[in-house]
């Protein structure tokens, strides 16, 4: 009896157009296995955010299908899907809405039925990990941008999802927080898909990368290999930053 392996994420022929008519995705195919950490690279306007929004059903496929851990994303499975997939938005303002940081972080676990002391513990733990415990009682919209980004990450960590999808999580973080986030991600035993423009960060964290460009997957392979291919990178407005050299293994 062979084990039957279910991919964490399976996207087939996904196409999507925004209500105003702009088509952003033109048939995206990708699979991510359980426990993988994958970087999603690509130029501005490539459709990364649009793709990511499909992974927990915030946008619903115009065409094609999205399957999360074997469950297709459909109206009736949304609740389950959203418990499994934790999404950190590109804009922290999209993520935070409760009157205090504490309440905001507690919101997800509370919806999943966590209560009382257990809830307090989960909240405290998540805030501690991102270094925002002191701000627990402040309103999230009165934090600095980077602080909001950290709280946004905490709201998702608190839900302990199986699959973590992060849309440019390191932008606006100070360098130490950026490294701490990398450590958190490495310490978790979850599948990670991370959108980023920070190629060294992708290399540091993710074995594998995808390049999304013009609404389709243009390349898929080991990060180290993709980043060594200057021509491929240049084609998709990617390039290694000044002063950076791919470290030897």
């Amino acid at each position: 009896m062979g084990t039957f392996v279910v991919n964490s994420l399976d996207v087939r022929q996904l196409a999507y157009a925004y209500p105003d008519g702009t088509q952003a995705l033109f048939g995206v195919d990708l699979s991510i296995a359980r426990g993988e950490r994958v970087a999603l690279l690509g130029p501005n306007g490539a459709g990364k955010t649009t793709l990511v929004m499909h992974l927990n059903g915030i946008l619903t496929a115009g065409h094609g299908s999205v399957t999360v851990a074997g469950t297709p994303v459909r109206k009736d499975t949304l609740k389950e899907i959203r418990q499994r997939v934790g999404l950190v938005f590109q804009d922290p303002d999209d993520q935070l809405f409760m009157p205090t940081v504490k309440d905001d972080v507690a919101f997800g676990p509370a919806n999943a039925g966590v209560r009382g002391e257990e809830l307090d513990r989960v909240v405290k733990d998540a805030l501690e990990r991102v270094g925002m415990l002191e701000a627990a009682d402040r309103p999230p919209h009165h934090l600095s941008f980077g602080q909001r980004r950290r709280v946004a990450v905490a709201t998702v960590l608190a839900m302990a999802p199986e699959i973590l999808v992060l849309d440019e999580p390191s932008s606006n973080l100070d360098p130490a927080a950026r490294r701490e986030l990398a450590e958190i991600l490495r310490s978790l035993d979850v599948t990670v898909l991370m959108v980023t423009h920070d190629l060294p960060y992708a290399l540091e964290l993710c074995e594998r990368s995808l390049i999304l460009s013009g609404g389709v997957i243009a390349a898929d392979g080991p990060t180290r290999e993709l980043l060594s291919d200057a021509e491929l990178l240049a084609e998709h407005r990617l390039e290694l930053p000044y002063g950076f050299a791919i470290p030897a293994v």
């Binding site: 959203r82 809405f97 309103p139």
Partner: protein, 251 residues
């Protein structure tokens, strides 16, 4: 809350009516409303003529009748009220379809229905052919005090911001496993509603500061020329002028 539906108020198009400068249209609609209201209620055919006039405007502007009908729902409370007046009204009574109705009440009901409906349609046509922002620029041209125009500008913007923030908050809630199914969830909505006010305000405030930092001084710069030619005034004022003529001829 339909605070955002002003997006659907405007029907983009390229008709003569659409192209008229906003100040002309505004004045025309106000003048028309005054003529309508000033028409004695016994002059049935004058009201018919006004209705035909508005129909012609709608035709020229290519505003579909179904659209106008849909938006007329705003009138419903008063239509209901109007139908009640003859029943609860005082004075001499008559019997129609087996119901005892007040005669002055019937007149009053007709008066309200006819005038309110014509007024509503005129406003609908104005809003359907002119973008809200542009209407305000027109109002500014007509010397509506700058402070009022500014408040109205911000109000329109904030309607967007509120709707936008509401959408963001809803998406954020749902993506963390929240479903508004039953009453137990009301407190959550209520708590986040408190945050909504501040959030909308603060986003709007930052945007306003961004405007200030790009030289905004209380008046929108005119990016597109909207000064009106004599001909355009003529076209616009044709509506109230014809209405006035009808009014004059109606005795």
């Amino acid at each position: 809350m339909g605070a955002g539906h002003h997006h659907q108020l405007y029907l983009p198009g390229d008709s003569v009516v659409h192209r008229l400068p906003p100040q002309c249209k505004l004045l025309a609609v106000f003048a028309f409303a005054i003529v309508v209201v000033a028409t004695p209620r016994e002059r049935f055919w004058a009201f018919a003529a006004y209705a035909v006039l508005l129909g012609a405007v709608a035709l020229v502007a290519r505003v579909p009748g179904t659209y106008v009908l849909r938006r007329m729902a705003i009138e419903v409370p008063f239509v209901l009220f109007a139908f009640l007046i003859p029943v609860i009204g005082l004075g001499e009574r008559t019997t129609i379809l087996g119901m005892s109705l007040s005669v002055p009440g019937l007149w009053a009901a007709w008066n309200i229905l006819a005038k309110a409906t014509l007024g509503v349609i005129a406003s609908i046509l104005l809003a359907a052919t002119t973008e809200p922002r542009v209407i305000l620029i027109g109002a500014q041209r007509l010397r509506l005090p700058a402070l009022l125009v500014q408040i109205a500008m911000f109000m329109l913007r904030y309607m967007d911001v509120i709707v936008d923030e509401m959408r963001r908050m809803r998406v954020a809630r749902e993506s963390r496993g929240f479903e508004a199914r039953d009453l137990r969830q009301v407190p959550v909505i209520a708590r986040s509603a408190g945050a909504l006010f501040i959030r909308s305000y603060e986003r709007g405030e930052r945007v306003h500061l961004a405007m200030l930092s790009r030289g905004y001084s209380g008046q929108m710069p005119i990016l597109h020329d909207i000064s009106a030619s004599v001909r355009q005034w003529g076209i616009a004022l044709a509506l109230p002028a014809v209405a006035l003529a009808v009014w004059g001829l109606s005795w």
